[in-house]
């Protein structure tokens, strides 16, 4: 689909392992600094002590209740969004596809807005479940619609079904928000995408879904590569594209649904990180998936740090900084790495 770089050269495999390890180390460093940096800078020793020998002091409390949950939320959401975006683009054969196209963002936003309209904004953590359920319900409807019809499942059907359901739900949400100022006020930070004030309990609620999805996605790489070459290619490789498409979509629901519930409807990561990865490491999904996971996590955590340090605001929506950090890089890659073909 994108960035065909011939990586048949000897040592390409080795270089990928090297790059992967380097990226992993970078991610660890960035995540540690995300916990350390802020209005009060924490030395690494305090962080380690807070995790392993918690003594209830102010510093330890700050680490365990504010900084750490926030970083974990960013890591989970970032990797989940990027991986689900990569799967989505493979399944639909469409570079414009993102988890949002499955109706996940629109469904989650609609569910959360309904909840807040009916019960007011002080509903606690229940909204996470609503977001999760809304996302899953919308995605299942999209998948069902996309599988109907005599031609059976096709990427075109899925993509159009997604556009239909997402538009419908977004229109409903907008209609509610236009007439209900207090709900608009309550959800606008959430809809911008934010990891502010996330708690350990919230992260623990969605972590099982995201982690299951991530592990499953790692095993799916080979099948995804075949799927991304189109239904004909995948069938001639002895694969049943319908089955694998269904499995892929189930994984996307776990991943992106969890991410949206945790961090709000962030569009950019799922759309762009897979492109960046494919332009960098090629189109083999056995590599695209792990690199996407690392890249997405790295992007969201970096963006969160940037938002906190540069803009000096704890509640600066990470959805905004993600685009500011990621888009220039993406534009550069799209300009330089894509050949004039296609």
């Amino acid at each position: 689909m994108t960035g065909r770089r011939p990586l048949r050269r000897t040592g390409a495999e080795g270089r990928r392992w090297l790059a992967f390890t380097a990226l992993l180390c970078l991610l660890v460093v960035v995540a540690m600094s995300a916990v350390a940096l802020g209005t009060i800078t924490m030395p690494f020793s305090t962080i380690a002590a807070a995790i392993f020998q918690f003594d209830g002091s102010r510093g330890h409390l700050l680490v365990t209740t504010i900084r750490l949950p926030r970083v974990i939320a960013a890591l989970l959401a970032g990797s989940a969004l990027a991986v689900s975006g990569a799967i989505m683009q493979a399944v639909t054969n469409n570079p414009l596809a993102s988890p949002g196209l499955l109706g996940i963002n629109a469904g989650a936003a609609f569910a959360v807005v309904c909840l807040m309209t009916v019960f007011g904004s002080s509903t606690g953590d229940i909204y996470i479940w609503f977001a999760l359920l809304g996302a899953a319900a919308a995605a299942i409807v999209v998948y069902a619609l996309g599988s109907l019809g005599t031609t059976g499942q096709s990427p075109l059907g899925l993509v159009l079904a997604g556009a239909i359901v997402a538009t419908f739900l977004t229109s409903l949400t907008t209609a509610v928000l236009i007439f209900d100022q207090s709900t608009l006020d309550a959800v606008r930070l959430w809809t911008a995408g934010s990891v502010t004030g996330r708690t350990m309990a919230q992260a623990r609620t969605v972590a099982p879904y995201i982690l299951t999805g991530l592990v499953a996605a790692l095993f799916l790489g080979r099948n995804l590569t075949a799927l991304s070459l189109g239904a004909d290619a995948s069938r001639s490789l002895g694969q049943n594209p319908v089955v694998w498409r269904g499995v892929s979509i189930a994984i996307i629901i776990l991943l992106a649904g969890g991410a949206v519930a945790l961090a709000g409807p962030i569009g950019f990561v799922g759309l762009v990180v897979p492109h960046i990865v494919r332009m960098s490491v090629g189109i083999d999904y056995r590599w695209v998936i792990p690199f996407s996971a690392l890249g997405g996590a790295l992007l969201v955590v970096t963006a969160d740090i940037a938002g906190r340090l540069v803009f000096g605001s704890q509640s600066f929506p990470v959805g905004v900084t993600i685009a500011l950090v990621g888009a220039p890089f993406f534009l550069y890659l799209a300009r330089t790495r894509l050949k004039a073909e296609a």
Partner: protein, 329 residues
């Protein structure tokens, strides 16, 4: 083909008549007839309602529908992606960011400024996408990707403003962005009509080029088509068409995506000379119908037409895609 065009034209006439008749003051068909022909001395206020309030609004909706559908048909053909609507060029996000900035950063901006901002935002984004995607030629994939990147930057700006702006301003901006035709007047209608004549004609005349470019750059090139020049020209047309639509009516989404797909379903994908008129009629019907519904569903509240196109257009499109296919099969 002829039958479809005639049926759609009749439907459009019916919708226009309904749009003139329905509203807070409902007229009967007979009253509407008398007002329209000027016979039987209608009440002066009926005539005012029909000619000064509802007619401009209806015509504006019609023109916006035509503009969006034409732009969508062109985008679908040159991008060769079923999701390619004019928004892919960054037009919507550019207009949204510019309008949001004007509304949030200024106290009570005049409507004209909002329209100018909407159009310039759209045009600037389309231009930026094309320039950045140019690298000794263009490719549809690169345009799509650059469009994604630049749109996300513009959307980040919009999101930032909407997260921190005054809540009243944000709400007003959302209403504008949702897309509606309620502040129409005859001057606006005439301007838009004049503005649209040239690009719509050009697009129609270029049907053959679109038929060819649809097959892919290399096929088109081997058929002797100057692909880059054609694509550049078409992008200009898309920008002019949907930029104008955005300026007068905000973001009426979905029409640009759906109208060409419906038209392709009705008359096939082979010839754009057949797709264009059908798509334009479908687009006009959609927006006029959405405006009527937005007026009469929850009176006295007026739902923006852009929301109704989503609420009504989406299920209708789903029915077209799946209902009919199953019925036959």
């Amino acid at each position: 083909m002829m039958r479809i065009v005639i049926a759609l034209t009749l439907l459009l006439c019916l919708l226009v008549a309904a749009s003139l008749a329905f509203g807070d003051v409902a007229l009967t068909w007979r009253e509407l007839y008398h007002v329209a022909t000027g016979t039987d001395a209608p009440g002066p206020q009926d005539a005012m309602i029909v000619f000064d309030l509802r007619l401009p609004r209806t015509l504006l909706a019609l023109l916006v529908g035509v503009a969006l559908a034409t732009a969508g048909t062109i985008s679908l053909a040159i991008m060769r992606n079923p999701l390619a609507e004019p928004g892919v060029l960054g037009i919507n996000s550019g207009a949204a960011a510019a309008a949001m900035a004007v509304i949030v950063l200024m106290r009570d901006p005049p409507v004209v400024l909002l329209q100018v901002a909407g159009f310039s935002g759209a045009a600037a984004m389309a231009l930026a996408v094309y320039i950045l995607a140019w690298r000794g030629g263009t490719s549809s994939l690169r345009i799509i990707l650059i469009g994604i990147g630049l749109s996300s930057l513009a959307t980040a700006g919009t999101t930032f403003l909407s997260a921190f702006g005054d809540i009243g301003d944000v709400q007003r901006a959302m209403i504008w962005l949702a897309g509606s035709v309620y502040d129409a007047n005859m001057i606006k209608v005439r301007l838009l009509a004049l503005w649209l004549v040239i690009p719509v004609t050009l697009a129609f005349l270029a049907s053959r080029e679109l038929d060819v470019i649809r097959f892919g750059d290399s096929s088109a090139r081997s058929l002797g088509q100057p692909v880059d020049r054609v694509r550049g020209g078409m992008i200009v047309l898309v920008t002019v068409l949907s930029g104008a639509a955005v300026a007068v009516s905000g973001l009426i989404g979905f029409v640009g995506l759906v109208a060409p797909h419906i038209a392709r379903r009705l008359v096939g994908t082979a010839s754009h000379a057949r797709i264009f008129p059908v798509a334009a009629l479908v687009g006009a019907c959609l927006v006029v119908a959405a405006d009527i519904l937005g007026r009469i569903v929850l009176p006295p509240v007026q739902l923006p037409a852009g929301i109704v196109t989503g609420l009504v257009g989406a299920p209708f499109f789903a029915y077209l895609l799946w209902g009919r296919r199953n019925g036959r099969g």
